[in-house]
């Protein structure tokens, strides 16, 4: 099972994400943003957190149009699994792979703290190891995590059970406390909190490890 982790200029969670995949049993290949194609045999792509291209224009906007961005979009278009965390979530919404947009936090401050979440949907390769409604704690660290979507789009993702995680105590003004969203085919997940920063006790908690184990488990069966 092979995971590709993309690195943009300004990414800063790419190594953490690679380690999280490795600890869950995946072989990890690191892919630079100037590449135009993914290595052969990739099963899942990780789009990491950070400040790609300095957050210029809009968070994630330049990365989503970068050379490797098209390859990520094509991979997802063919039904590939993609996990975007924090800035990676912003990149995936800018690509149009996920609905909505991430705006400036309602409180205007950068928020950086352990954050309690509830698992809202267990119907995905990413969340199948959790119990529905279970509380998990993942760190958050973002300035632009205020999930916004029009009323019609919100009704649709709610009706289709595509909210993967909700905040328990909304830190940023996100609509319906949404912390993570799935694509229509449930194979693309974008989330602001950082499960890759919660994979062993030394990090203050290991609630994120189950997400990566579930994902690599699904890949191993395929």
């Amino acid at each position: 099972m092979k995971a590709a982790v993309i690195t943009f200029p300004g990414s800063n969670c790419d190594r953490d994400l690679a380690v999280a995949f490795e600890k869950a049993g995946a072989e990890v290949v690191r892919v630079w943003h100037k590449e135009t194609a993914l290595p052969a045999g990739v099963d899942v792509i990780g789009v990491p957190g950070g400040f790609s291209y300095g957050d210029y224009l809009r968070c994630g906007a330049i990365a989503s149009r970068s050379p490797i961005g098209q390859a990520v979009a094509d991979f997802a278009g063919k039904g590939g699994y993609v996990l975007g965390i924090c800035n990676g979530f912003q990149v995936l919404t800018e690509m149009g792979l996920l609905p909505g947009a991430l705006m400036r936090n309602a409180g205007l401050k950068f928020v950086c703290k352990p954050q309690a979440l509830r698992v809202a949907s267990t119907d995905s390769a990413f969340t199948s190891a959790y119990a529905k409604g279970a509380e998990v704690v993942f760190p958050i660290a973002h300035h632009d995590g205020n999930f916004t979507i029009d009323a019609e789009g919100l009704a649709r993702i709610e009706a289709e059970d595509r909210v993967a995680f909700r905040y328990a105590g909304n830190p940023n003004g996100s609509m319906a406390d949404i912390a993570g969203v799935l694509s229509e085919n449930r194979r693309v997940l974008g989330m602001m909190p950082h499960p890759e920063r919660a994979i062993e006790a030394a990090q203050g908690g290991a609630d994120g490890a189950a997400l990566f184990r579930a994902l690599t488990g699904v890949m191993a069966q395929a």
Binding site: R58, M103, L108, T148, G173
Partner: protein, 79 residues
């Protein structure tokens, strides 16, 4: 030829930064400010000489990169 693109949040999308500016103006004694919306202006120097063709191209730039049409609207001035 120069183009100027104004990007603004769509009506109805809450603008937390605009709200913060409105509050700050209130603190400075400007009591009559009932709303503030913050956007951005992008100026482009274009090689094009045909105004209509330039406008078509800038519109494509807005759709593909300069604005996120999920939350933003834009207007184009060509001069």
């Amino acid at each position: 030829m120069k183009a100027r693109v104004h990007v603004m949040l769509k009506d109805g999308v809450l603008d937390p930064q605009g709200e913060a500016v409105r509050h700050a103006l209130g603190h400075l004694g400007f009591g009559g400010v009932e709303g503030v919306r913050q956007g951005k202006v992008i100026e482009l120097d274009l090689a094009a000489t045909d105004k209509a063709a330039a406008e078509v191209e800038v519109r494509q730039m807005c759709e593909k990169l300069l604005a996120n049409t999920v939350i933003e609207k834009y207007t184009i001035e060509i001069a």
